[in-house]
Amino acid sequence: MNPILRISILLNLALAVAAVLILRKPAQMTASTPVAEKIAVPSITGTPAENLASNPPPEVVYTTNAFRWQALESTNYADFVASLRKVGCPERTIRDLIFADAERRYAELQALPGEPISFWVAGKARAEANRRNESARTEAQTALRAELRELFGVDWSPEESESRDLRFQALSRLVVGPVSDEQHERAWRWLMSTVELGQKFRSDRNRIWLTADFAEWQKLTATKQAQVEQIFGPVAFEEFQARTTVLEEMFDSRVMQLKELELTPEELRKVCLLKVRQLGWLNDLFDLEQNRSEEDLETKKAAFTAATKDVLSAEHFEELIRVQDDDYRNILDVTRDNNLPRSSAQKVYEVRQLADAEYRRLEAEADSDEKAAALAALQVTTTDSVRKVLGAEAFKRFTSRSGQWVTNFSKL
């Protein structure tokens, strides 16, 4: 064999072996360390035994890449929040998580047994032990709320999951008006915190208000009102005041008898704002009537009613005055039930007022045959007038219910 050829063949063999050895080694390592296996490594840090033999350098530390929730968890909210923020958990989710946990924590604090009280401990001893437990409970709950305020900058309420009710959501959207989601949330948080503030204020004072309390409460409510004005800005705040006033009147008619009126949308809004200016805003929520005497209230109401003349049409103003009278509202009920126009109620009311005035004038006179005849004639005229306006059927119903005065003036 040619020596060149022999050397060449030997070199080929040597090069082939070398190439196989070089190429094989890295290919085997890649295959042994697939991603899935690495994720499954159970220990956080460690040096696997099989690598110690073949790959002994002591400076190499294996770190698992399997993320576990436990790495985030903490009973300390600040730490938990920090961990969640570090892994990019959205702020809204962080808050949802912490608030849901806080609701449970708050309930647990509420149920804390506190200092044990034997079953038959009674009298002052029980009352005082209960007070101590209640005070410890409240302190812990207040601290929890303060922590949440510190973390998220909002007033958390243990009742807030109740606001998830969709009817509440829809109604509150409607009342708060066309504002942003953030303003809407701040508004109902404000409402809840204001309600709670009032409850706490009253409960701390055992519901006994002293002179100094009124001044203090006035200061607190002024701050609260300023807060909500800040949330909305002046225009949206005015709208919020007007809308909440409509609801207040609708659910608890005190001043306007709104349900009985048919004002134009513009008039209604104006009259609500007028009420806010003259009688205050959300009287129940802010306990504004606590320190007002009956006389004071009546004077203010009368002034408000008189002022509505400037914002209502003459016709609507007269109607607002009429609906303040129970008798007119009774007549209105009957005409409404019998599908009669509002003008029928107005006519019957006018008849009633005329009859009432005439009846009282006649009653003041000395008894005589003329007086008796005049009264009888008045009764007949009144009955006829009312029957004519209402029609036979409605007249029958009316006179059997609130309209007995029509046939019997002693019921006037």
Binding site: I4, T93, P113, R167, T264
Partner: protein, 423 residues
């Protein structure tokens, strides 16, 4: 010709193999460590180091570089996937619920907002027709109810319950109830306590069943039949407990479940020992048991009731002695409590409270006598009642002091009421 061809082929192969070896050597020297190259995370599967921030792991000591865990790896718009991803990283079930419930709630809050948005501009239009509001509420209420049901369906699919918030509340409620029951049964050993609780649960369930039962007859007849079933169920439970407990234990059990136990709360302004409270509860419970549920208002029933009340008062007097019995009478009078609430806020001492209370009692007694006095004319009675009011107000002013009187008066309508011609 064959040999030179072979030599050329072999030399060519030499060159090719030499090139291959050189390339392999170069590749080996320049390639990153094998495990490092495998560090790319699979989509959505977490692969971060255990610490939230991978930069905290010293790079010199680590043989792999991992992308840090990011919330986006688990978050998904597909709720079942979101739940699975959270489970995969070991998120506790309660936390998963918290996250998903809030997310679903937000989603539906948006839907409610979108639903109501067109009505926003019509607010004043709607409000100016208040009579139509009920109709509107009904119409929109239906649509919102449908949305709520959709939400419940999602919860049902994800958590197998339509209102997952309820589960922890129920659990919490049960825990509180059990804590109260354990306290009420703390005189029993653990075995007996467990048996009593089981019997109570069984009774609750039976009573619940009776409430659902349908009976025939008039309203009164139905009431009687239901009461009979109810009494029978309670008697069965009592028989069971009587067999389980000693006579003393059973008596204590019954006492702790009677209205006598309320004496523990009713005497908050009096110092009373546990033994006295126990005896007092026995007296109250015995009196109630004798009266039963009778609502009869005939003279005989009334007289019997009065007699039992008198007997109970005698027993209480005997238990507490004359002085403390007077105190007992005072603290169980609502008028004393009313007075004490005001004086406590005014930070007045207890003797003042007692003095004001006594003044009120005397004044009211006197006013009552005057109102019943038919020998005087209405005007004379009114004048006398006015004098009582004025004198009482003066006495109270002296007791509470000028500074506190205005505040006291605001909460003590009884002073003004003294002058009323009829009670």
């Amino acid at each position: 010709m064959k040999r030179p061809g072979l030599i050329i082929f072999s030399l060519g192969l030499n060159l090719l193999l030499a090139g291959t070896v050189a390339w392999a050597l170069h590749r080996r020297n320049s390639a990153p460590p094998a495990n490092q190259s495998a560090s790319t995370p699979p989509a959505r599967i977490t692969n971060a180091v255990a610490t939230a921030d991978s930069s905290e792991t010293p790079s010199a000591q680590t043989n792999e570089v991992t992308a840090p865990f990011d919330w986006h790896m688990v978050e998904s718009t597909d709720y079942p996937a979101y739940v699975e991803n959270l489970r995969a990283i070991g998120c506790p079930e309660q936390r998963i619920r918290d996250i998903i419930i809030a997310d679903v709630d937000d989603l539906f809050a948006q839907k409610a907002r979108d639903y109501i948005a067109p009505l926003q501009s019509q607010f004043w239009q709607l409000a100016s027709h208040p009579r139509d509001i009920e109709k509107n509420i009904e119409e929109h209420g239906k649509a919102l109810k449908q949305l709520s049901e959709e939400r419940e369906q999602i919860f049902q699919t994800l958590f197998n319950e339509s209102n997952p918030r309820r589960s922890w509340r129920n659990l919490h409620g049960d825990r509180n109830r059990n804590a109260n029951r354990n306290s009420q049964l703390d005189f029993l050993d653990e075995t007996k306590r467990a048996a009593v609780i089981a019997a109570q649960d069984e009774l609750d369930s039976t009573l619940g069943g009776i409430r659902q039962m349908k009976f025939a007859g008039t309203r009164e007849e139905i009431g009687t039949q239901r009461l009979a079933k109810d009494t029978e169920a309670r008697k069965t439970t009592d028989d069971k407990l009587r067999a389980l407990l000693s006579p003393e234990e059973f008596a204590e059990y019954k006492l702790r479940n009677s209205n006598g136990m309320s004496v523990r709360y009713q005497l908050a302004r009096m110092t009373i020992s546990e033994t006295e409270a126990h005896s007092l509860a026995q007296i109250v419970a015995a009196k109630s048991a004798a009266t039963g549920d009778s609502q009869a208002k005939d003279a005989a029933t009334k007289a019997a009731k009065e007699e039992r009340e008198q007997r109970a008062q005698e027993q209480i007097k005997q238990l507490l002695g004359d002085t403390r019995y007077a105190e007992y009478q005072r603290v169980t009078d609502g008028r004393y409590d009313q007075t004490a609430r005001i004086t406590e806020r005014l930070q007045l001492p207890e003797p003042t409270t007692i003095a004001v209370y006594e003044t009120r009692r005397e004044a009211e007694k006197l006013a009552e006598r005057l109102r019943a006095d038919t020998s005087a004319s209405a005007e004379e009675r009114a004048a006398a009642l006015n004098i009582i009011r004025t004198e009482t107000e003066n006495s109270v002013r002296e007791l509470v002091g000028d500074a506190a009187f205005k505040d006291f008066q605001r909460h003590a309508g009884w002073m003004e009421a003294l002058a009323h011609p009829a009670k």
